[in-house]
């Protein structure tokens, strides 16, 4: 589905990513874990064209998307729920969801069952149903995260990139977010999940990559990495 080959990119003259290779197969959940500043968000931002790649290739469904502008990548069926949620604060919850489906409503992607999808998204996130006509800026952090994920689903995407969905959320909400990711997984959604909260990510993913200082230091089935002593020491708390 999504293949990243020898990717290098960064800000200005400084390359943050150094030749990284990631593959996300169809219907699988792949996670990318690593410390703050390791380059996780940079990877996602390079995929969706917010940062120019300096070398390497990215292909989506066999089609090269190197340095495509964000909107084109979205129209090709890749939804990216960015770090920090980034909902549109001065629009209502419903408007936010509608914009998630923008390419569908404007003819860039098949329209499908838009109304039905809205209902399904509301069902998946019951909180959003209650707040349907409220401005997104007035939602709590957890609700905004739900909205960001719902908005990504509204694209009817082939693959979803989730950037730190647990960031800044209370433990109980983190749990809820991961439950929803599990439900999406069960429904066969392809996902690339970036997380600092490694335990949760490794529990849910099929396959994992560890990013360290812009390089993939380790990768393998998530169940295997979870029990790796080095990973345990570095990312799963100090014991």
């Amino acid at each position: 589905m999504l293949i990243i080959k020898d990717l290098e990119s960064g800000y200005g003259k400084v390359n943050v990513l150094k030749k990284i290779n990631i593959e996300v197969p169809k219907n699988k959940v792949v996670t990318l874990i690593g410390a703050n500043g390791a380059g996780k968000t940079t990877t996602l931002r390079t995929i969706t064209g917010m940062i120019k790649l300096t070398s390497g290739h990215i292909t989506l469904n066999g089609k090269s998307i190197d340095n495509f502008p964000s909107y084109k990548v979205a129209c090709l069926g890749l939804a990216h729920s960015p770090e920090g949620r980034r909902v549109f604060p001065s629009l209502t919850v419903f408007d936010n969801l509608q914009l998630g489906a923008f390419p569908r409503l404007t003819g860039s992607r098949p329209r499908g069952d838009f109304k039905g999808d809205i209902d399904r998204a509301m069902e998946l996130f019951p909180k959003l149903k209650e707040r349907r006509n409220q401005l997104a800026g007035t939602l709590s952090g957890g609700e905004q995260q739900m909205l960001a994920m719902a908005r990504a689903i509204m694209l009817n995407p082939d693959i979803i990139l989730l950037d730190e969905p647990s960031m800044g959320l209370a433990p109980i909400l983190v749990e809820e977010v991961f439950k929803i990711i599990a439900r999406l997984k069960a429904a066969g959604t392809t996902m690339l999940l970036v997380e600092q909260f490694a335990v949760g990510a490794l529990n849910i993913a099929d396959y994992a990559y560890v990013l360290e200082n812009g390089r993939i230091s380790m990768h393998g089935p998530a169940s295997k990495l979870k029990n790796d002593p080095a990973i345990k020491a570095a990312y799963l708390g100090g014991h």
Partner: protein, 644 residues
């Protein structure tokens, strides 16, 4: 250095001999105007090139200078030599007035503010007829100096002398701590404030100095033209000045002179339409041929060259359509601005420099020009051991920081003991950086008290707090990017200077002494973090890890009692982190207290004496590193629980 001096001397000699060989007063007057414009452009460059603001008010300031001279001459008959300094002072006052609203705003706002200011000046000149004679204008005779009536050629020499003097003075100012501060506030205003260099204050300085030169130029202009009237000092003149600066090249005096020469001679050169057609045709051919060459060599694409090709070919076609060039003068200037802004960003001087550099790839050697002295690197840091600060160096009581509905800090109490390293951890968005911003005066807490060294810092501006002994680094590195490593540190050493503007302008001994001392100490600080080899490298060209180290060195230049390190290890490689740990320990040995925000647990645990944990803006735990590591609350919130 020597080369520049020789070039300057040669230039002055040639220019002073010029009127002897070229006796046509038309040309003498033209060069005179170029020199006068150059003086103004030197000053304008401080604002545009160094502090990076767009000023659309300089025609107004130029007018203030001219009319101060005109009014004093016409109404009171004040002699020339007294008029000049008065014109400068009056313009400086207007510059200060202009700086007032310009201070609090940035970018497009400053442009609009200065534009409004310029417009007001123009209206006042037009309407205050009792003072300015309004649209009638004022006639001024060439000055009489000590009873000697000057003629065009004498006045030319006077202008030449004054512009040479201006050049020297402005060079000294810009090479001094003032120039560094101006550049620093352009590259990162936040860091500038946190280095004790008040953005507020130095912006005012920049505007005042700039206005002074504009006023000087204006008063010289009044005597040069011998007639002043309101419709000279209009918006178009301001735009012409800006065109001159960006075309000649920002941040170079030579660029200002070249720019002045272009905007003054161009209307004359293009005086007849035939010449304009030839120039436009030649330009179009050069651009088309150049683009064709670039495309054939695959160095550019059709899309990239489309705009300049269409533009220049269009200009050529245009030149054959028009009959009278002078009607289209402004369009041509506008067209030139567009071209320069996007295709000659560094101006002519910058372009030639880049070209020269690429051909000869002459890299500045790292160590030349620095008289490093015998500074031991460890002496570069002033020990804080003997400071009289109380044992509880920092004391926060129930601090609340609210943004709209969000409580970024909620009821936080924190005591930091002198001489310790205090770790601060917590998940993303838990309020760590907010806390640092509160401590450095970037945010003013909604409620609660913050005491540093026994006195409250709530409501104090960043620069004041910095000077009282709190230094910091930034999570997303905030260096002065276009300045060299050593200059970055010297901005931090700004507080060690006592010399004033006049000592700088006259290059007096105290200033020289201070400059040398600062340079040596800056070099010592670079050595301390191991960057001495890169002293003359621009900060933006350093690797990420080195940038972080440079930030620490710069913070130390402030002689802090308390150093706030905001994620110093983020993005560092393992060996870099080891080096960082050593540096942190050495800083502690100097008696400097440190607050360390960090995600790398091994770093926090290795060096901290006490660790506090924030979550949702609240302090949820505090204690020795070992205790924190085993605290169940902390594990759940941050280190990661095994429950999910």
């Amino acid at each position: 250095m020597r080369f520049k001096f020789l070039a300057l001397a040669a230039g002055i000699i040639i220019l002073s001999l010029f009127p002897i060989f070229q006796t046509n007063t038309y040309y003498i007057h033209m060069v005179e105007r170029i020199l006068i414009y150059s003086i103004l452009l030197f000053g304008l460059d401080i604002v545009v090139g160094y502090t990076g603001q767009v000023s659309l008010g300089h025609a107004g300031l130029f007018g203030v200078g001219a009319y101060t001279a005109g009014i004093l001459y016409f109404k009171l008959g004040v002699p020339f030599l007294i008029i000049l300094p008065i014109a400068v002072i009056v313009s400086c006052l207007f510059g200060a007035l202009l700086a007032l609203p310009a201070l609090k705003v940035v970018g497009p706002y400053i442009a609009m503010v200065t534009l409004a200011f310029g417009t007001i000046i123009q209206i006042l000149i037009n309407e205050m007829t009792f003072l300015t004679e309004g649209p009638l204008g004022i006639i001024i005779k060439k000055p009489i100096i000590f009873g000697f009536q000057t003629k065009e050629i004498h006045y030319y020499w006077i202008v030449l002398a004054i512009s040479a003097l201006s050049l020297v003075v402005i060079n000294r100012i810009l090479k001094s701590r003032l120039g560094r501060s101006f550049e620093a506030l352009r590259d990162s205003p936040v860091a500038c404030d946190c280095m004790g260099v008040s953005v507020y204050k130095y912006k005012v300085y920049a505007f005042i100095i700039s206005a002074g030169f504009a006023g000087l130029a204006g008063s010289l202009y009044a005597y040069s033209e011998q007639y002043i009237s309101p419709n000279t000092y209009v918006f178009e003149l301001t735009v012409l000045f800006l065109l001159a600066i960006i075309m000649g090249g920002r941040k170079t005096r030579l660029g200002a002179i070249i720019g002045a020469a272009i905007v003054i001679t161009l209307p004359q050169l293009l005086g007849d339409v035939k010449l304009f057609r030839i120039v436009a045709t030649a330009l179009a051919f050069v651009v088309v041929a150049g683009s064709a060459l670039l495309i054939s060599k695959k160095m550019s694409t059709v899309r990239k060259v489309a705009v300049p090709v269409i533009g220049t070919v269009g200009l050529m076609a245009f030149s054959y359509l028009i009959k009278n060039i002078s009607d289209w003068r402004l369009s041509i200037f506008g067209f030139m601005i567009l071209l320069v802004v996007y295709y000659l960003q560094d101006g002519i001087v910058g372009f030639v420099n880049n070209f020269y550099m690429r051909i000869f790839s002459s890299k500045k050697s790292a160590r030349d020009q620095i008289d490093v002295g015998n500074f031991d690197k460890d002496d570069a840091i002033i020990s804080a051991k003997n400071s009289s600060a109380p044992d509880q160096l920092l004391n926060l009581k129930s601090v609340l920081m609210q943004f709209g509905g969000l409580k970024a800090l909620h009821d936080v109490d924190l005591i930091v003991k002198k001489g310790t390293i205090h770790g601060l951890i917590g998940p993303n968005g838990s309020g760590k950086s907010t806390l640092i911003n509160v401590l450095t005066g970037i945010y003013v807490p909604t409620s609660g008290t913050v005491e540093f060294s026994g006195s409250s810092i709530v409501g104090k501006v960043s620069a004041k707090i910095a000077l009282s002994g709190i230094a910091r680094t930034f999570q997303n590195v905030q260096l002065f990017n276009e300045m060299t490593a050593i200059e970055n540190i010297m901005v931090g050493l700004n507080h060690t200077y006592k010399s004033n503007l006049f000592e700088i302008a006259l290059n007096l001994p105290r200033f020289k002494r201070e400059e040398l001392a600062a340079k040596q100490r800056a070099y010592g600080l670079l050595k301390f973090v191991g960057l001495e080899e890169l002293a003359n490298e621009e900060a933006r060209n350093l690797t990420y890890g080195k940038q972080r180290l440079l930030e620490i060195a710069r913070a130390l230049a402030l002689d802090p009692n308390l150093l706030l390190l905001d994620e110093p290890a983020a993005g560092l490689t393992a060996p870099d982190i080891k080096e960082l740990l050593l540096i942190i320990k050495k800083i502690k040995d100097k008696g400097i207290t440190i607050i360390l925000i960090e995600h790398h647990m091994e770093v926090v645990m290795a060096v901290s004496d006490v660790v506090s944990v924030l979550d949702f803006g609240q302090k949820i735990a505090e204690g020795k590193p070992k205790e924190i590591q085993n605290n169940p609350k902390v594990i759940e919130a941050y280190l990661g629980a095994q429950t999910t």
